[in-house]
């Protein structure tokens, strides 16, 4: 199962549409990190609307992916966390997910764009390139 990662300029969009097995999740993490490096992505939006179960493993994958993306210089926003998933996560333990969240891809993209605009590299490099 390969999860598609779409490119929109220097932003990556990905929507997880199925219940992921552990192997799928690791594969996705790997693909995404490589893609970030390849295009020098400035931002990533991951949509998890379809994830009905986020257990501590999946939470870790999401957190780790975000951490890796940050190390590679990209802003990360997660969108579409289901209400019951959010409730379950906070009942299991606080801070299982430490990434900024928003409602849908649309808003995720807006937030990412706003953040990228504040960044020096986007202004300088894009402007001169």
């Amino acid at each position: 199962m390969k999860i598609p990662i779409l490119r929109l300029g220097r932003i990556l969009l990905s929507s997880i549409q199925v219940d992921l097995t552990d192997a799928d999740a690791m594969q996705f993490q790997d693909d995404l990190v490589n893609k970030i490096a390849e295009i020098e992505a400035l931002g990533i939006v991951i949509d998890i609307t379809s994830l009905e179960v986020v257990d501590s493993f999946m939470a870790r994958v999401i957190n780790d992916t975000a951490g890796m993306a940050r190390l590679l210089g990209a802003e990360v926003v997660i969108c579409g966390v289901q209400p019951y998933v959010a409730m379950t996560l906070v009942e299991m333990g606080r801070d299982l997910i430490g990434v900024d969240c928003t409602f849908n891809l649309d808003q995720g993209l807006e937030i990412i764009k706003a953040r990228i605009e504040m960044r020096g590299d986007a202004r300088m490099i894009e402007g001169e390139g």
Binding site: A23, V53, S56, L96
Partner: protein, 139 residues
Amino acid sequence: MTTQPTNSSERVPILDASDIVRARGVARQVAGRIGFGLADQTRLATAVSELARNVVQYGEDGFCEIVDASDHNEMRLGILVEDHGSGIDNIDKAMKDGYTTGGGLGAGLPGTRRLMDEFVIESEPGLTRISIALVRKRS
């Protein structure tokens, strides 16, 4: 005047990581059939996911049994996860937040306990049994 509960159970073998998704799918389905709300279905599916992953990571082989033990007063879904791995050395330690030996967030077991109404764990080399249950009064 006791109505005999119409108990039913389903057993899912857990041998590799793909069974985790199957087990939690069955748990969600059974919970929905009994009448648990979406929030409780998610709690149950997540708990099964945690426990089933434990089996895959440490237990070699095992199974997950999902039992509908509801009666006319309450909805009750019981889940037994059993594996035949090396067992948990120190249960107290395994139940503490942040303790992990297998690269997780260390929230698996204590997190599951917080999600459920009942949580019993027994472990010896060769056999680990964790039974959990979610109970809701019928309104």
